[in-house]
Symmetry: C2
Subunit: 266 residues, 2 copies
């Protein structure tokens, strides 16, 4: 399958929301990132953002990820989806204000999962938007699930699915640290960034970093990276960069070298 | 096909937004209506709202209904869809605050049209939400169109499609006047409400009221009613009531008699 000119961009929830505080958006960061996306002027782009302090606390409060167990969770599902649409609205506000022809696509309206994994994705809207030169914007969302009623679909699973489905040229992942570290950089001062990892090296790391008995020592980043494995296996390079550093996202989108972690098949 | 216990509720954009003024929501009305929906506690409900001063001025400014003719319209499409998601967000805010397990379903994410008519509707999300006891909330939206790039999908076409597809027990339409009049009640003081119309009477009216050479003398309401014809033909009664009168929507949802226009097949 030949590569397309499509880039899939993921912006982590931790970049666009305050970690401490519920429903606290970093509107200045969102605005700057919208400007960077405008500036990069990529030919074909899908953007996905995470939930940060919008999605996570609400989803956790009602146990949405583990599915419907009691009726009282239903309003929690409504609320979790709703707060994600609010965060998405702030992102779209900034993109449109910057002149980016972005159109939000609501995951829960066209995707359902089975035991937490995407089972059905009516991608006709994403496909048509891309063809017309629009930038579809999706997000981690509370979605319906065939087995457990509902669950949380992470932005990372969505990115991997979109990347492989549309055979992207590359995936750019913007996070709030400098890449994938060998330890949690927010705790370990000596933690070091992996500059380049192959699929083989990543798999070797997997057995070291995330055995069932040990917690994810990279501060949660490794689990997110593992979601992107199907895309890497398909030959799509993944570049993880610090989206809080001005210029990083626009340069990564333009294909310029940016400090971070590059993950390739070989 | 036997009737289900499903009610489809349409709330006109003129009810929940100020006509004079762009992007001006009547939040007090939205809040009251959310409370009425809560109070009615209908077993199975789909709600649809119009765009009013959110959707219409933006759509008109960029000529979205007539399709993509020049590149500059693209940002207009983005904007039109975005302002509709903002209005929908205000509606969902109120519904959830009132304890209604409502979940917004984004029309443009699961529907596309051909020459302005629904061609594809992935209704798996609406179906699953209903089955789980959620209230799916949809709205008039800027959608993609196979023939003309994009267009506006009216809330009325959506209501008719949902009503027939799910074989609703009835359709309740909330507007800002007392029903369907024989003249524009906002202009003609002597205008009279039709209390009951059959399909045959409606068709007779059609030739009188909306010949190609005459404008819609009912103030635009007749065109909206004609959108609901497929549902009426399928035997689904349509009740048009004044949603600005407190109690009307909750009573109509409960199946109680409310002054307005009843349209039935026979």
């Amino acid at each position: 399958m030949s590569r397309t000119e499509l880039t899939v961009l993921k912006i982590g929830g931790s970049v666009i929301t305050e970690k401490n505080g519920e429903l606290a958006a970093r509107t200045a960061e969102i605005d700057r990132l919208a400007g960077e996306i405008r500036m990069a002027n990529v030919k074909s782009l899908i953007a996905v953002h995470g939930g940060g302090s919008f999605g996570h606390p609400t989803a956790q409060k009602y146990g949405i990820k583990d599915g419907l167990k009691e009726d009282s969770q239903k309003l929690g599902f409504s609320e979790t989806h709703h707060v994600m649409t609010v965060l998405n609205g702030l992102v779209l506000d900034c993109l449109i204000w910057h002149g980016v022809p972005a159109v939000s696509v609501t995951p829960s309206s066209c995707i359902y999962t089975e035991s937490g994994r995407i089972k059905h994705f009516d991608d006709s809207s994403v496909k048509a938007l891309l063809k017309m030169g629009f930038i579809p914007v999706l997000y981690g969302d509370a979605v319906l699930d065939l087995k457990q009623g509902f669950t949380i679909l992470s932005g990372d699973q969505l990115v991997s699915s979109l990347g492989t489905q549309f055979n992207a040229e590359r995936i750019v992942v913007g996070v709030d640290v400098d890449g994938l570290y060998n330890a949690d950089p927010k705790v370990e001062k000596a933690a070091q960034v992996f500059k380049h990892l192959t699929l083989k090296e990543l798999r070797e790391l997997q057995s070291k970093l995330s055995t069932p008995t040990s917690r994810d020592v990279t501060g949660g980043m490794f689990g997110k990276v593992m979601e992107l494995l199907p895309a890497v296996e398909q030959g799509i390079p993944v570049i993880i960069v610090n989206a809080l550093v001005p210029g990083n996202i626009s340069q990564a989108l333009e294909g310029k070298h940016v400090e971070g972690t590059l993950i390739t098949k070989e």
